[in-house]
Amino acid sequence: MKPGSEESTLVIEAGLAERHYWRDLWRYRELFYVLAWRDISVRYKQTIIGVLWALLRPLLTMLVFTLVFSRIAKLPSEGTAPYALMVFAGLLPWQFFSTSLAESSNSLIDNSNLISKIYFPRLIVPTASVVVSFADFLISFIILLGLMIWYQFLPGWQIFALPLFIALGFLASLGPGLWIASLNVKYRDFRYVIPFIVQLGLYVSPVGFSSSLVPEQWRLLYSLNPMVGVIDGFRWAILGGQAAIYWEGLLLSCAVTVFFLWLGVRHFRRMERSFADLI
């Protein structure tokens, strides 16, 4: 770009919506990679077992859930699928959702030194932190493979739909993540709300049990929780049709996800310009 050329002239005015915002977002993609890489590479620094933590946490949760829900509460699995496998198929997206929600909500405050000193499209920060949880998610996939080998369970053609549900899970966590991240800058109360939501959500979402246990007349209402659609989708894809998909609920979950995404992006964009003053 030549100095003084028309396209490099930037006009800043109070309240003027950023016209080049989405183009800037593309231009700053390098920063996005670097921030994601930074968070991934420092995540397990100065720990003894390092990246094994990403395997250990879901594994232990899975064992406890299987024990409590299957052995003690005697809840049924999906079809003939082993209970542990069913729990893990739900635990995978849930852990992805909960860590990315928690990370993205706090991401702006954790990076306040950047935000108050450097310009860049702020959307990069929470999005990059979701990518970090995605790395953990990929690592815990190894456990799923291990479980499948252990139970000698072969998934069906449905497994190819899994990326769609991963994308849905990504968006389902990004929407509320953006919304809460921007609110968190202004009102730190949300810092204390997030762990609560995550803890409660684990029991409200069908992680330890199958969503087919929910009475038929309540199922649509239950699907207002966007993670219900994501988890059901994961089970359907991984367990190869052992879990029937509940289409109305899935569509509703998608709609709720889109709504939250719209709300999150809109609120974030509106607040973004004042982040540096409030943080």
Binding site: M1, P3, G4, S5, S8, T9, L10, V11, I12, E13, A14, G15, L16, E30, L31, Y33, V34, R38, S41, V42, K45, Q46, N111, N113, L114, I115, S116, K117, I118, Y119, F120, K186, Y187, R273, S274, A276, D277, L278
Partner: protein, 433 residues
């Protein structure tokens, strides 16, 4: 048509600040604490419902960090921004670098801006020096290829070759700062915005940084530079802007703005009157009363042409008659704080209760051009050295070089000539037979 790099029109920035009302209660009763907390909670809830930010304190007040600022900066200008703490300098830089948005007004920027509001923004303590170079470079807007091609240069500049693979949390603070500045110094933007970041590091490194910034300026980049160090401003910038309480009070050549800044609150920098000031300068023997700089016609002036004589005059009063011999002495300092020279008169016995005037005549073609400050002192050497008063930076004046008709420029050279003095001396240049 003049090419403006930055053009600012009516820029204002408002912040909300909270105040704590001073309490006069003698005891803090639990009842009052609860009542006050309830009121605060109510106010915060109302603010939240209305979508306003939470401001701590009992009273909320508007504060204008910048108020109706307008100026233009041409392509390739090196502009210093000066002002006291809280004058709005950093806010202005934040708006220019798009970190925060103005409340009113607009600005136009042509060219890629890189801003350096802090050294080492985004450095991660757990990452190694090598990793942080890439991280910090990306944060400052460099691409990975840019960084890779300059990597060796950056490492050499920072002098940290041995510790490249050590986490920066194990670095000494000096190494940390050197690395951080090294990355920033290798940015190649069209407009460089720098906040007071050079105040760190040792003197040698500061000099190196300054050299790098001078280079950026000489390559035709536009540089905006905030500093409290007037020497850096005067050596680095050709123009300056002075802010005071969020308003632009002066702009122009850096020399004239620095003089204006150095003397704000006083009638004239080249004339100081201490008689009316509440602060008494002196001890039980003597007191400084006034001082000024005068031209050959006896008029108080701010700026002297290099080929004209002038005088420095100080008035003082002797309180107690003693058998001391007082020595008035003047210390001339350059803008960078270094001492150019010191002059003193002969030691003389003074009469008690009398006012004296000490005048020192500076010949033409003696001092170099530039900004000088004068430190006024009165000493005596009877029982060891005693200093009766010593006023640092009492007077400020500028020696101007009009270039045309200056005897020390008969060579025809018109560029800058370094040094504190530029005396007109006798030469003989002749073939040796």
């Amino acid at each position: 048509m003049p090419e403006f790099a930055i053009s600012v029109e009516g820029l204002s920035k408002r912040y909300l600040v909270g105040h704590q009302i001073a309490r006069v209660e003698r005891y803090t009763a639990l009842r009052d604490v609860i009542a006050r907390s309830a009121i605060n909670l109510g106010r915060k809830t109302i603010n939240m419902v209305r979508g306003r930010p939470i401001v701590e304190g009992d009273e909320v007040e508007e504060f204008w960090a910048l108020k109706d600022i307008s100026f233009d900066i041409r392509d390739g200008d090196r502009v210093g921004i000066i002002g006291r703490n809280g004058a709005g300098k950093s806010t202005l830089l934040k708006i220019l670098s798009r970190v925060t948005e103005p409340t009113n007004g607009r600005l136009k920027i042509s060219g890629k801006v890189a801003s350096l509001l802090e050294v080492g923004t985004g450095f991660h303590p757990e990452l190694t020096g090598r990793e942080n170079i890439f991280l910090n470079g990306a944060i400052l807007g460099m691409t990975r290829n840019d960084i890779r091609s300059k990597f060796d240069e950056i490492v050499a500049f920072a002098e940290i070759e041995k510790f490249l693979d050590t986490p920066v949390k194990r670095y000494s603070s000096g190494m940390y700062v050197r690395l951080a500045f090294a990355v920033a110094a290798h940015l190649e933007p069209e407009i460089l915005v720098v906040d007071e970041v050079l105040a760190v590091g040792d003197a040698a490194f500061q000099k190196k940084c300054l050299g790098k910034m001078e280079q950026a300026g000489s390559e035709g980049r536009t540089v905006l530079f905030v500093s409290h160090n007037m020497a850096m401003i005067s050596s680095l910038c050709d123009k300056a802007i002075q802010l005071e309480n969020g308003q632009l009070v002066a702009q122009g050549s850096s020399e004239s703005v620095i003089i204006n800044y150095a003397t704000s609150g006083r009638s004239s920098p080249a004339a100081a009157d201490y008689r009316s000031s509440r602060r008494r300068i002196g001890d039980e023997f003597a007191e400084l009363l006034a001082a000024d700089i005068r031209n050959e016609r006896g008029e108080a002036i701010l700026e002297i042409e290099i080929n004209k004589p002038f005088s420095v005059r100080m008035e003082y009063q002797i309180s107690i008659g003693t058998d001391r011999h007082f020595v008035p002495n003047f210390h001339f300092h350059r803008a960078d704080g270094s001492c150019a020279f010191i002059v003193s008169s002969e030691a003389k016995r003074h009469l008690s209760g009398h006012e004296y005037a000490a005048v020192c005549f500076i010949p033409p073609n003696f001092m170099n051009d530039g900004l000088y400050s004068v430190r006024l002192a009165l000493s005596s050497f009877e029982s060891g050295v005693s200093v009766h008063f010593d006023e640092i930076g009492a007077l400020t004046f500028n020696v101007r070089d009009p270039i045309d008709g200056v005897p020390t420029r008969v060579s025809g050279y018109t560029g800058p000539i370094p040094g504190s003095v530029r005396p007109l001396l006798t030469w003989t240049v002749a073939p040796i037979d």
